[in-house]
């Protein structure tokens, strides 16, 4: 249960960074913290008490085309697969955002939001 709470807190702290911080890189850091929080939430949603990792590599567990281990003792593999994707997507977005920030810096020599309010109204 504390994992849920912790992930939620991470998400909210990350969002708070995006809402309040005036520095562009700080905002991206906030978003990446939020990503971590979400990933952790997904993993903890897939956890099963007393379960093992979804890798069945011991000979004793799988014989003659049938699974010997109790299914409910293996944690849910699907959320893990989803998180794999989510992490990669997260790094892609971060890289994209940072490259935009680098370009913005090369134009205005600043990475403060206050210098990027030209588009409005």
């Amino acid at each position: 249960m504390i994992f849920f709470g912790a992930s939620l807190l991470l998400i909210l702290i990350g969002l708070y960074g995006a809402l309040v911080k005036r520095n562009l890189i700080k905002i991206i850091i906030g978003l990446s913290i939020m990503d971590t929080g979400i990933n952790m939430l997904i993993i903890s949603l897939g956890f099963v008490k007393g379960g093992t990792a979804p890798i069945i590599s011991l000979k004793s567990l799988f014989q003659k085309n049938s699974l010997l281990v109790d299914v409910s003792k293996i944690v849910d593999p699907l959320p893990q697969a989803l998180v794999l994707t989510a992490i990669v997507i997260g790094v892609a977005v971060t890289a994209m955002a940072l490259s935009v920030v680098i370009r913005m810096y090369s134009v205005k020599k600043s990475i403060e939001i206050d210098d990027f309010k030209e588009l409005k109204w």
Partner: protein, 230 residues
């Protein structure tokens, strides 16, 4: 002021999201498709690592999308950073002797380790993405230690393209052989828990590993290299 408003509204959202957790007990059993994956995964795919089975086979389409996202990020990054017609330049401070010597020994091993990870993706934890990023971290080490190092972009691109095309191509082969895109029926499934098993899963993971490795290396090199005007 802004901070207070943010905290208040985030608290409201947090309050509502917490209510979800009352419905999902931590550590509860799961139902639905995952049961199928766990029960039938090995039988259908002969891969010991169920996560790999899901990532490459059951939800292989997601992975194709994921590879695309990374490819997109690498492309977009170099599109943005080099949209002016400046020459690229690679200048960094000189690194220490210790680092350079260590790199000489470590780099091949890191590459090998990365390759191991993605080749054994269907058997052990890890796979294309993990292996690829390990390889990229090896390349990163080269960046740190050698002042004038920069990878050959043509080679990287070629690896990337071939790997990408073979991923999609394997998918299309599945369409030809089994009337279903990305179907795992091009190769025989083989024996469970062997290196050569699980049909096309290792092949796909090798392609993904190479592609991710090349992409991330290119991405890092793009980030680090500067243009002359800076």
């Amino acid at each position: 002021m802004r901070k207070i408003v943010a905290i208040v509204f985030l608290a409201i959202i947090g309050f509502y999201i917490i209510s979800i957790f009352s419905a999902f007990q931590f550590g509860d059993k799961y139902k639905g498709v995952s049961e199928h994956y766990v029960k039938e995964g090995i039988i259908e795919n002969r891969g010991a690592n169920l996560v790999t089975s899901i990532v490459v086979n059951y939800r292989g389409f997601d992975t194709l999308g994921e590879v695309t996202v990374l490819f997109l990020a690498a492309t977009g990054l170099s599109f943005l950073l080099f949209s002016c017609k400046c020459e690229r330049e690679f200048k960094r401070i000189k690194s220490s002797l210790v680092l350079r010597t260590a790199t000489d020994t470590l780099f091949p091993m890191i590459l090998l380790f990365g390759a191991y990870i993605f080749i054994h993706g269907h058997l052990t934890p890890g796979g294309g993405f993990q292996g690829g990023s390990v390889i990229a971290s090896g390349v990163m080490l080269l960046f740190l230690s050698f002042r004038s190092f920069h990878p050959n972009h043509k080679t990287l691109s070629t690896i990337e393209v071939l790997a990408g095309i073979s991923f999609a191509g394997i998918g299309l082969l599945g369409l030809v052989y089994a009337k279903s895109f990305l179907a795992n029926s091009v190769l025989p499934l083989g024996q469970w828990n062997r290196l050569i098993s699980a049909g096309v899963i290792p092949l796909i993971y090798i392609a993904v590993g190479l592609k991710v490795g090349a992409e991330l290396s290119g991405l890092i090199s793009d980030m680090i290299s500067t243009t002359k005007e800076d």
